[in-house]
Symmetry: C2
Subunit: 417 residues, 2 copies
Amino acid sequence: MARLVLKFGGTSVADIARIRNVARHVKREVDAGHEVAVVVSAMSGKTNELVGWCRDASALHDAREYDAVVASGEQVTAGLLAITLQDMGINARSWQGWQIPIRTDTAHGAARIQEIEGSDLIRRFADGQVAVIAGFQGLAPDNRIATLGRGGSDTSAVAIAAAIKADRCDIYTDVDGVYTTDPRVEPKARRMNRISFEEMLEMASLGAKVLQVRSVELAMVHKVRTFVRSSFEDPDAPGMGDFDNPPGTLICDEDDIVEQQVVTGIAYAKDEAQISLRRVEDQPGVAAAIFGPLADAGVNVDMIVQSISEDGTRTDMTFTVPASDLGKATALLDKAKGQMRYDAIQSEAGLTKVSVIGIGMRSHTGVAATAFKALAQRGINIRAITTSEIKISILIDGEFSELAVRTLHSVYGLDKG
Amino acid sequence: MARLVLKFGGTSVADIARIRNVARHVKREVDAGHEVAVVVSAMSGKTNELVGWCRDASALHDAREYDAVVASGEQVTAGLLAITLQDMGINARSWQGWQIPIRTDTAHGAARIQEIEGSDLIRRFADGQVAVIAGFQGLAPDNRIATLGRGGSDTSAVAIAAAIKADRCDIYTDVDGVYTTDPRVEPKARRMNRISFEEMLEMASLGAKVLQVRSVELAMVHKVRTFVRSSFEDPDAPGMGDFDNPPGTLICDEDDIVEQQVVTGIAYAKDEAQISLRRVEDQPGVAAAIFGPLADAGVNVDMIVQSISEDGTRTDMTFTVPASDLGKATALLDKAKGQMRYDAIQSEAGLTKVSVIGIGMRSHTGVAATAFKALAQRGINIRAITTSEIKISILIDGEFSELAVRTLHSVYGLDKG
């Protein structure tokens, strides 16, 4: 007997038929003797509808009211799943964030979980009751509903798993695990059996939208064994109830990964834009003068490359922003040209950032050189490079996105089983 | 300055444009210096959608889960109206039943309000804040949401008005008041300026679906001055902000009605069915033997007529039920024929109950005779009659419904201004 948290996203609970399918997954684990808490998102499309109404009511809406409106989506799904489980003869009840309570900070609309009172849930497990918990929401100190930001139900699930000391947290989604790269780009992409928290963080933040970044951080901190698996497979297919190795990808501590690969995955983010400031005065404080105002305006600056100054007085500064922020960023830089003291501004959209990720890079050399050589052989020009301990990111022209992903996937042997 | 509760039903908040119109009604009262609490229903259609999902999930659904699901409709509207009011520069916040709290009993799905903690609302009025309250819901002793049953938002509004000692409770709906009869049947029907609680109770329970019966009972007990008025009129039209006589119908204590009419209104209920049990044994306990099982089965028995026994041993028992309950009722009676000991059962659907209502009947004689004579002159056969202090109800064939309503409306002079 173990204690499990199962989380189901919006596409998995999109209608009553799918909710019934979710209930069968829950039933399988209950029948196996496990204690089960379920975390649900809103039916797919619901949150967008509710957010749209808030926007229609006022462009600048009160985040506390937004939270009350938007949290209703998960409230509905939790109730419906509890009813469906009861209909299957399972003792179940729904919980809203304020009932448990899941206490958050005051940052309405993007709150962080502070504390979860799990004792009542645990007491009811002993009575054989399944807890069906509305994800994405909690109770702020002002006694009002707070939501955790988009994708927050993943974070709810991991936080609840930590609070009730669950043996496993299963994130059921519309894919059956984490792949070595996007299978739509590279059909030879393989599902990983295991990936470390650190690698998953890089994958998640780079556009492999399987799991919300914060949920991975939380799982890492609390060492929650988290599986990514599919809700669309037959709940009673062979192996689905395998406790140690259910079908899917385990996100775990790197120590739990016996055979470490040097490179485990290739991620990419399209629609990047590059901005270059030419002949910026090369003196202390210049970076702060440029990036401070951009940060204040909410522009998400990513790769930053500062070229070596030729004569010790002037330098070129190049960085990337999401293409959607390009107009705002250049307008801001144009306006502040006087203080920033640069000669010219150049920008280009339609770029892609491709990233090579692997914990093994820490102990292996030559990983970056392999990537550069492989891309060069395909005639792909590299515009910028940034690296971290376990990641190499390369900025290229968008038209080469798929070619670059497939090239890198192949050169590191990821397409071989 | 006064303290007002304004209640808006589902058609009044059906979309963002209508919510904005509601906000203008609120703004008018706020601008006049009043303290305002607003009670809202779910957007029209939403509650039916949510109820449908619960039914699809399970025919026999847990009322506590049903409540969690269905209460979300009002939660959404309350948040959206608060946002809209803020957008107009009005200090407003939403309240859910559990936040105030509005305490109910344990009867999930059809709970009754036990207590409302109004002190926080009143304190915030002093700060100029408008309270936007989700109707139809409260917090049960088990710390879970309880709903008040269909139309419960009217009851919420009146109960809140009583709790915060409001000077007036305005029920905004899609009609502009209470009429002497249904204007779709009799175009000469007139809007009443005032109607007593007792009369309104009879009107409400007889199919004039303007106000929920329980809300009228509550208003009567707590002497809440309640106006029925239209949300679809221009919020800033002349007279809309008149404190003592806003356009609409005031439901009030009968002492507040100076010029009392003998008859104030004609109500009707279609789709009634009649059941006659022939030659029932005329002995003590026979009525209990018949109506006990029907009540247990949830069949709503209305008019009951027992004929005088011819020979002292047998009698005929005739009563009405809603046509939708006829099959269930006759099946039950058939099954229990042995215990009930009657000779035969006859039934007929497609009947209509027409009622003449007026507090003045208490002190005037001949009201019933006038009705019988007028109907007879039109060739309308009377199947059964029941009377109370302020009401005469007459059962007729359904095909005469409209003719009977118009005839009675005219014979008591209700079509004259």
